[in-house]
Amino acid sequence: MDAIAAGDAISDEKPVSKNTKNFTKSYTFRVILQGIITIWAATTFTFFLVRLLPGNPVSIRIDQLMQQGYTIEEARNQAATLFDFNPDEPMLQQYSTYMVNLVQGNLGTSITSAGTPVRDQILRFLPWTLISVGSALLISFSVGILLGIMIAYWRGGVLDNVITALASILSGIPDYVYAILIILIAGVQLQWFNVGEMRGGVTQGIPAGFTVEYISSVIKHALLPVITYLLATVGVWILSMKSSTISVLGEDYINVAKARGLSEGRILTAYVGRNAMLPLVTRLAISIGFVLSGSVIVERFFEYPGLGLQLARAVGARDYTTMQGIFLVITIGVIVSNILADLVMGWLDPRVSLEDN
């Protein structure tokens, strides 16, 4: 709320130069301001939300250890090392400390790995998530768009029937089923690959760097996660693109273009595709934002060192600081990609204007 008041104060001031005034009224300024407010609101909300989760790190750790067969003494001894957590400190005080640190770029230290900075955790796992889920999303989107537009254009043909049915069924099956089946059938049964070797982000022992060996190992390890993600999501993109294209196909300007004798390829790309992609670009933007949260399922089954599994673990163990750091990254990702989507929209369809009507 403070930020809004500050914004008003700026625009109310009279002796500002014309340029500044234009800027404060401009679309860009508004979008950025709105983004910052949303990030602040979401961070605040999350701060209190995670602390309302039932249970606390210490008691959960004791229960978990005893479930693993530890005696109560052993469990208590281990939980005693969780001294980074003080449940008695007032929430508002914790919040103000957190926000002051945050503004300085300090995300604090993890509770369940005492002394480890949250920033280090994020920097360690984020790149892997970007590599696997990020590339999978882009491939899935591109394939989906291409196939979607094709089957919409040649509606009713064999290709349409086969792909539509396939896409419907593929997208109706949850992602972990693909992960399990790939490992069990292709790995354990048919032995197309060595189950253990394909785990992790990169073959252990290869030094990191821009070497052919390292990069090819990264690609090899990302393969199974990407295939899993692709199988689970490509159907949605295909069918969305198909339906969006169908809406556009009825438009008069398409018929006009056809009457003008333009080639099918040109009609598809310049007229149909451009317009049909509008809603999908927005969707893609939201998905890009959520790429940062990783894919827990894929990471669990392939032991891929991404952010999703870390987040799931942090939520389960009530590691408040780690959770919050990761959620902050996701929030920023979603907001930024939404702003980008609005900009891309204007580029795809120049008629669109986001200024006031």
């Binding site: 039932p54 249970g55 008691s59 959960i60 750790r61 229960d63 005893m66 479930q67 693993q68 067969g69 530890y70 005696t71 109560i72 003494e73 052993e74 208590r76 001894n77 281990q78 005693a80 090392t81 969780l82 001294f83 980074d84 993890s110 509770i111 369940t112 790995s113 005492a114 002394g115 480890t116 900075p117 280090d120 955790q121 360690r124 796992f125 490992i183 069990l184 790995g187 354990v188 060595n194 189950v195 253990g196 785990r199 992790g200 982000g201 990169v202 252990q204 022992g205 669990r300 089954f301 392939f302 032991e303 891929y304 060192p305 389960g316 009530r318």
Partner: protein, 586 residues
């Protein structure tokens, strides 16, 4: 003469070869690789500081930590005895005021330092700093000579304290010495946990990141050995077990139950302590993988909220015990990896012979499946069936309750779903509610439940620990002002028309060193628990662990006494790896 000299030559050759092979074993790592699994965490969460979460306790667990840091002794459940590891001798002092531990003088750390009494002092100085439970029993830890330490008891000598002392891995002064010195200085000044100095030292200890893992066991590792999918513990020559172990490497795959299953199937994990559901265990068997079944140390118990009517009525609880067929319940809990509870006395069936006298065991009510007896008990308690066949009290209120259980734990969920079905067939009106596992204990603590399921019993050779879970764990161990737990009146517990202080009886059970007295006190409590059924011990879960004999040889036979050890801290593989019983299959 010639024959003799040839014989002599051959003899000398053999001796020589034997000697060189022993010598070779001393400085060259053996060839074998142990293929295990533990859900370790990845760096930067993963570090080598044993006194901060995310350190060796988390990453090696109570099974593999002792491959790196040895404890003074290993416990054998078959005859309640200790096998020496780092210890030379141990025992209570003559006046019973202290416990004396002497380490063997030839043991070395991986960096070449001798393992001596100072390491014990270091271990316990930091243990006291972070607040270990050992200090509920002992208050002083003093060096007697270079290899002997004396632990002074707060009150009377305790066998429980003995176990804690002998089974606690020791850490190296080379790694933690500085912190231990500061901690000892704090204790000398008489400062307590509330002081700023104490918490400052805790903060710096928490942020401490040792770069080298100084090991007393035959294996060690550094952070660079921790990969995304597996970590490797490597052999070093300085440990007292370096010459006996047959594995040059211990390879631990990352991951929980779900993600390790394919690796067990494909033979890349030879042994795992995870709780695999019976469906998966069946698959392992079909693949020809041996399943080793050892005690697990707990089972699911049905917990009542004593504040909710009618679960505070003894007859109703007894009736519940009679209408649940426990063998079926065990099967639906964990297949053949669970056994219906036989003795219903609050002590795990496998330990009952050692903890109770035959006389007491004979007096136990076994609560065999008996609907008629249950019917009679319900009527005695003033309940009758309504028109729908549901039990109702005199005012016609039906016995309707909700049972909460953890969604993620297939065993507890299975036990609950089956028990609910069986109770409803008898005419209770029980509904089920699944929730994230973390929330079930939370609801039990806060008394915001009606019926629930959680563990009973313990992997402990002390009867009081068995009764502790769940009786004290969910009642008197809690901060009862804010957390009523199961709301059992432990201090004034109704029994045969009188009240007894059940809490005190359990607390005193294992005090002192007179084992016969322990058994006698355990018998009293067992009879009370058996008759009043404060909770229902549904079944006892076993640990059905895959053990791939194509990869690992030397699996002890099931009648080997070590196989009576439960999984976890006293797991048979720990001693078997160290002493070289287990080795690579050729």
């Amino acid at each position: 003469m010639k024959k003799l000299s040839i014989l002599l030559a051959v003899f000398l050759l053999v001796i020589g070869a034997a000697l060189t092979s022993v010598a070779a074993q001393q400085d060259e790592a053996p060839d074998g690789v142990w293929l295990g699994t533990w859900p370790y965490r990845l760096p930067p969460d993963h570090h080598l500081n044993a006194y901060a979460d995310g350190g060796p306790n988390t990453n090696l667990g109570n099974v593999y930590r002792e491959m790196v840091e040895l404890a003074p002794a290993f416990y054998m459940w078959a005859d309640n005895s200790y096998e020496a590891i780092l210890a030379e001798s141990w025992g209570f002092s003559e006046d019973g005021s202290a416990y004396e531990l002497t380490l063997r003088s030839d043991a070395m750390w991986s960096n070449g330092d001798s393992i001596n009494a100072m390491d014990v002092i270091t271990t316990y100085a930091l243990g006291r700093l972070v607040g270990w439970t050992q200090f509920d029993f002992i208050d002083t830890v003093e060096m007697v000579d270079e290899f002997t330490v004396s632990f002074g008891f707060i009150d009377e000598p305790s066998l429980l304290a003995e176990q804690l002392i002998l089974r606690e891995p020791l850490v190296a002064t080379a790694t933690y010495g500085e912190f231990a010195e500061q901690a000892l200085a704090l204790f000398d000044e008489g400062l307590d946990r509330e002081s700023d100095e104490w918490s400052d030292l805790l903060v710096s200890l928490r942020e401490y990141r040792p770069t080298e893992y100084v090991a007393s066991g035959p294996y060690t590792y550094s952070i660079s050995d921790v990969g995304d999918s597996f970590m490797t513990l490597s052999w070093h020559p300085n440990s007292i077990f370096s010459g006996t172990v047959q594995f040059g490497e211990i390879k631990l795959w990352a991951g929980e139950t779900d993600s390790t299953t394919p690796l067990v199937l494909s033979g890349e994990i030879a042994h795992s302590t995870n709780v695999y559901p019976p469906t998966v265990v069946e698959s392992y068997q079909q693949q020809g993988i041996e399943i080793v079944t050892i005690p697990r140390g707990y089972g699911p118990a049905m917990l009542f909220n004593w504040n909710v009517s009618p679960w505070d009525i003894q007859e109703v609880r007894q009736a519940v015990a009679l209408v649940i067929e426990r063998d079926q319940n065990a099967f639906l809990t964990n297949g053949l990896g669970a056994m219906g509870t036989v003795y219903m006395a609050g002590i795990l069936d496998g330990n009952i012979g050692a903890m109770l006298t035959d006389d007491v065991i004979e007096q136990l009510d076994l609560y065999e499946y008996d609907l008629e007896r249950a019917e009679a008990l319900m009527e005695e308690a003033g309940f009758s069936r309504n028109n729908n066949g549901i039990w109702a009290d005199a005012d016609g209120n039906t016995i309707s309750s909700e049972w909460i259980f953890p969604a993620e734990f297939a065993d507890f969920a299975g036990a609950s779903q089956d028990a609910i079905a069986q109770m409803n067939e008898f005419g209770f009106d029980i509904s089920a509610r699944a929730m994230p596992w973390q929330e079930v204990p939370d609801n039990i603590r806060n008394n915001t439940f009606e019926l629930s399921v959680w563990s009973w019993g313990a992997a402990s050779p002390f009867a009081s620990r068995h009764f502790n879970n769940p009786l004290q764990r969910w009642v008197t161990d809690l901060d009862t002002a804010t957390q009523p737990g199961m709301a059992i009146p432990m201090e004034a517990y109704p029994f045969n028309g009188e009240t007894v202080n059940l809490d005190e009886m359990i607390r005193q059970m294992n005090a002192g060193v007179d084992v016969d007295a322990h058994v006698e006190r355990a018998g009293e409590v067992a009879l009370i628990v058996n008759q009043t059924m404060p909770y229902i011990p549904l079944n006892v879960i076993l640990s059905a662990e895959p053990f791939n004999t194509d990869v690992i040889a030397g699996l002890p036979s099931m009648d080997d006494p070590i196989m009576l050890n439960p999984t976890g801290r006293d797991h048979f593989i720990k001693l078997s790896i160290l002493t070289g019983v287990l080795g690579p299959a050729s």
